[in-house]
């Protein structure tokens, strides 16, 4: 088979030097701004300075990384460390690792270097590991953007009304309305997260084909109309279509674990659900690369009366059973 595969070219030394030089004014402006802000006691000036300095750092790192070709870049980022860590795992395999060893023990050397998501679990209150709640960064980012948007657009409306330019005021109000809609949407997302369920597992990561116990707990005060928990294995791909980047999902496996409600929970009251499920052995393990992935998810959906509903994904790592 003969294929012509387009691969990213390695940046030349001239390009790298140019990219590094471009970072210099950013770094200078950032550091200068921070120094000036600290000297004058106006600490608000530190933020733009920090942003410029961070941008310079990011550009510098990008310039250095672009020096490597696609193969050698990947080698440097992954396989150099894999080469180091594979050996002890291989020894374990060949000396017939005891079946009691967990996925976390077997795969420990690979969890940071293999194409897997970084998932920081904590010790659970009921079971061994608690899955991290979904990130709120996006929602807060949206709220921040909406507030910023309104701060920019609202003064125009006020000035237009004061100047009695009601046509202009009506026009700019459309933009303000968009900002308010975004702010309300973000606020609802933040409120919904205040009542998110806690998800714990008997172990994480877990082997494909093994049994895992999942504990999901909804807290009050809440009038829960419906509470659903599913276990999902999902392929996710991202692709570029012209100027757009699109994502698509396909669920390879989905199993309903809990479908309950309605129930009224008093303040501080807990509503626990515990299910033990065997993960089918013919399914793939977790995989994460830059634009593609296989994700194992605990999906929790709650319809709460008088409160924003939520539909959140808690990711866990499911790994192939060694030797099977």
């Amino acid at each position: 088979m003969l294929l012509v595969t387009p691969m990213s070219k390695r940046a030349g030394p001239f390009a790298t030097l140019f990219q590094i030089l471009v970072t210099v004014p950013f770094a200078a402006a950032g550091i200068g701004s921070i120094a000036q802000a600290v000297r004058s006691g106006r600490l608000g000036g530190v933020i733009p300075g920090a942003l410029f300095t961070a941008a310079a750092g990011w550009m510098f790192v990008r310039a250095i990384r672009a020096r490597r070709s696609s193969e050698s870049r990947s080698l440097g980022g992954v396989s150099a460390t894999i080469a180091d860590v594979v050996a002890p795992v291989v020894l374990d395999y060949r000396t017939a690792a005891a079946p009691s060893r967990t996925a976390a023990q077997i795969y420990a050397p690979l969890l940071l270097t293999a194409p897997l998501p970084r998932i920081r679990t904590k010790p659970g209150l009921v079971l061994a590991r608690m899955l991290p709640p979904p990130s709120v960064a996006n929602v807060f980012g949206l709220l921040f953007a909406a507030v910023f948007w309104n701060l920019v657009t609202l003064p125009f409306v006020v000035v237009a009304i004061l100047e009695r330019s009601f046509g202009l005021a009506a026009f700019v109000s459309i933009f303000v309305a968009v900002g308010i809609f975004l702010a309300v949407f973000a606020a609802k997302g933040i409120l919904a997260r205040a009542k998110l369920a806690r998800v714990e597992l008997s172990e994480e990561p877990v082997f494909v084909g093994d049994e895992v116990t999942i504990h999901v707990e909804q807290r009050g005060k809440a009038q829960v109309n419906r509470f659903e928990v599913d276990l999902v294995c999902r392929e996710t791909v991202t692709f570029t279509v012209g100027t757009d980047t699109r994502s698509e999902d396909h669920d390879v496996f989905a199993q309903s674990l809990v479908d309950a409600g309605p129930v009224a929970l008093a303040r501080g009251e807990r509503w626990p659900h515990q299910v033990t499920v065997r993960l089918p052995s013919n399914l793939p393990g977790t995989f994460r690369s830059a634009r593609n992935g296989i994700r194992w998810l605990v999906r929790v959906r709650a319809d709460i009366a008088g409160w924003p509903d939520y539909d959140e994904l808690y990711e866990l790592r499911v790994l192939p059973k060694v030797g099977s």
Binding site: V4, T5, Q19, V241, G242, P284
Partner: protein, 198 residues
């Protein structure tokens, strides 16, 4: 091996990224003629067409032809801004070619700058866009049913689609990429195309 899907799918995105498949025009000399016009020193052209009509594919092939002729090429996407370092590198060596994908994503001033840069170095410039940029048109990219059939036959030689591609292209606004994605899904779903490709 594990997996609910096919071992391979001829309509995988990687198999038809711009430049991966040959320029499949009816006239085998078509690309050469386009390249002769586009790569003439100082020439500035546009390639206009809808999404998935082959604009980026033509640019990829022009790049390939230019490199084979020893020309120094810089090719970039307008949505990612002007790569000043790459332009600076091009300035050092000639003959030169500047290829810009998605020109309308560039600020008008930036594109004027790129045009002036190319003109000052006698470099050839080709920009792709969805609308007329006011440059001489190298190609009005449009995928017809016949071209679509040639591309599909190249990707999946054993496939046959008796209905042709007219209806599919019309449904996707002439966007061949979307048609290929549709064929991908059909193969994986085991629907109409399943028995046509082995």
């Amino acid at each position: 091996m594990i997996g609910p899907g096919r071992a391979t799918n001829p309509f995988s995105a990687a198999r038809f990224v711009p430049g991966r498949i040959p320029w499949l025009a009816r006239d085998p000399q078509h690309l050469d003629r386009l390249a002769a016009r586009a790569l003439a020193p100082g020439a500035q052209h546009q390639v206009v067409g809808v999404h998935g009509s082959g604009k980026s594919t033509l640019l990829a092939h022009l790049e390939s032809v230019a490199r084979r002729h020893g020309m120094t090429v810089v090719r970039f996407r307008g949505s990612r801004g002007v790569p000043m370092h790459a332009l600076a590198r091009v300035a050092l060596r000639g003959p030169r070619v500047v290829l810009v994908d998605e020109v309308e994503e560039l600020a008008p001033f930036a594109f004027t700058l790129v045009r002036a840069f190319a003109a000052s170095l006698d470099a050839s410039l080709v920009g792709s866009a969805h609308r007329d940029l006011g440059l001489p048109t190298l190609l009005h990219a449009r995928v017809g049913a016949e071209t679509a059939a040639r591309v599909v036959a190249h990707l999946a030689p054993e496939a046959s689609f008796p209905g042709g591609f007219e209806e599919r292209l019309a449904r996707h606004g002439g966007n061949l990429r979307e048609v290929l994605f549709e064929l991908y899904d059909e193969l994986e779903a085991g629907t109409s195309a399943e028995d046509r490709v082995r």
